[in-house]
């Protein structure tokens, strides 16, 4: 064997390694992936999602890794497989909603249905951001998918983005989950800015007890009304209500346990990894994700303002006043936003516990953001 042959052999071996095909832009993506892993572990910000998302970003940004491409026979690689059948087919967000439904107690919303209006008012940012995004040169479909970030509902954001602008999936999902995790930091200053000291101490009457029959009937009524008015979003809301019906019926405990436990955990892993895997340096490193993060923040703020303003307007017509702080919970981000309301409320009156009152608009926000997503889908389909 000559020295040239040995060198050729060495080079041909080297060419199959990532070192030979290294590009410097992937270092930025490693940093982004590591940042989200750090936020999940050190700060405990939405760790169930940010950890797999961060690792997804990290692992796909190595040269030649067979993760998000296709094998020679046309078969999808591992993460491409999760992405295609989980997200492209819009299955994962719906299964997550099934689990969420199985975890959710709609009692506070049923006891005080007026809070549904707050959930609608809190979608203000979604529509305002749409306008800003169009002005920035995004297409209408992209604008709709960016706008829904303010709804602070991860699965709805993923569902709508995958439906309308899959190229923005990574950035939108990351922005939505990041801001949801940062609710305790982002919302209190807005809440203080939008309310005065008198409003913050308004005490609300204790919620009535909700019967089991009402709780069983609620998912049926909601699914029926959503199916009639916004049919495009029924895959999400239908599964949400099925999960809740399973829980409230009390006759399928095993199914409820599976939906809110194992199944939910499994799809969460696939969701996080698939979303992270869409963020390859070649596609992700542009001005668009940065812009989406900026707009998402404004969106989130306007949605919070929208919820609080809605309560203030409602108070003009109501005999029994509502504490405007609970308007902030209209952005979904269940149950974090409701907890923030509780924490903020007791700062001004230690006996004023608003957690259950805030859960109503919180759940209404989930339905409201799904309705807004349905409106957008209907606009373009």
């Amino acid at each position: 064997m000559t020295s040239n042959e040995i060198l050729d052999l060495l080079f041909s071996t080297l060419r199959t390694t990532g070192v030979w095909n290294f590009q410097f832009n992937i270092i930025v993506m490693w940093a982004i992936g590591s940042l989200f892993i750090w936020l999940a572990i050190a700060k405990k910000y939405e760790p169930l999602l940010l950890l797999p998302i961060g690792f997804g970003i990290f692992i796909v940004n190595f040269p030649l890794v067979p993760m998000m491409g296709y094998a020679d026979g046309g078969y999808p690689h591992l993460l491409q497989f999760f992405y295609r059948y989980g997200l492209e087919w819009e299955i994962i967000p719906c299964v997550i909603f099934l689990g969420l439904g199985a975890m959710t107690d709609f009692g506070p919303l049923i006891a005080n249905p007026k809070t549904l209006i707050i959930g609608a008012g809190a979608q203000l940012g979604v529509f305002i951001t749409f306008t800003g995004t169009v002005l920035a040169g995004f297409t209408l479909k992209e604008a709709a998918s960016v706008g829904i970030i303010g709804g602070a509902d991860g699965p709805t954001t993923v569902y709508l983005t995958q439906h309308l602008a899959p190229q923005l999936l990574g950035a939108n999902a990351l922005a939505a989950y990041s801001y949801m995790a940062m609710v305790p930091i982002l919302q209190p200053p807005i809440m203080r800015l939008m309310t005065n000291s008198k409003e913050r101490v308004i005490k609300m009457r204790q919620l009535r007890t909700v019967s089991r029959q009402e709780k069983i009937l609620f998912p049926m009524i909601t699914a029926g009304i959503i199916a009639l008015l916004v049919p495009s979003v029924i895959p999400l809301m239908g599964m949400f209500m099925l999960g809740n019906l399973m829980k409230e019926s009390g006759v399928v405990a095993r199914l409820t346990d599976t939906a809110q436990g194992s199944l939910m955990n499994i799809v969460t892993i696939f969701l996080g990894l698939s979303v992270g895997a869409t963020m390859h340096a070649d596609k992700f490193l542009s001005w668009k994700p940065l812009f989406i993060f900026g707009l998402g923040l404004i969106d989130f703020g306007v949605c919070t303002i929208g919820g609080i303003l809605t309560v203030k307007i409602m108070n003009k017509f109501l005999k029994e006043k509502i504490n405007p702080l609970i308007g902030a919970a209209g952005v979904s981000a269940v149950p974090m936003a409701a907890r923030v309301v509780q924490m903020e409320g007791i700062k001004y009156d230690k006996s004023n516990h608003m957690l259950m009152h805030a859960v109503g608009p919180n759940l209404a926000g989930v339905i409201g953001s799904a309705a807004a997503a349905g409106m957008f889908i209907a606009m373009f389909d």
Binding site: L116, F127, V134, G137, S211, E214, F218, I225, V230, F380
Partner: protein
Amino acid sequence: MKRLMLLTVIFCFLLSGTVAAQSVPEEFLGIPVPEGELVKQSKKRLELMSPKTHDQLLGYYKEQLEGMEDIKIRDWTDQSYIEDDSNRPWHSITIDKEPEGGKTRVVIMKDNWTWIIGTLLLRYVGVFVVLLVLLVGMTISGKIISSRVEKTEAKK
């Protein structure tokens, strides 16, 4: 002499009008325009009457727009509606199904903020409507069930 001048002016005016009516632009806001008679044209809107049938015109636009992304074609009862959902300068093409005097009306609209804001406002109100209907449904069902539960408990 005055009459002659007046007649000349009127003749020129009519002639220019006829020429304008016949001079159909080859494109409007980047979208090809089929043969026909120009009815009205402004910066935002172009309206023409084409001797082609609705199906021929629809086929023409489908061919022209083939491969373009974010194009939506809707088949309405009395019109076919083609809408652009990306950033193209034109917003919509409407083709009437019923011909007028053997000609088909085609209207091309510029991408406009009135439409965007209008549709957004409508959809925001739509979210309220959905949740209000749900509110009504929940209130009614809540009252019915509560009264039934109370009656059952009273019997006990």
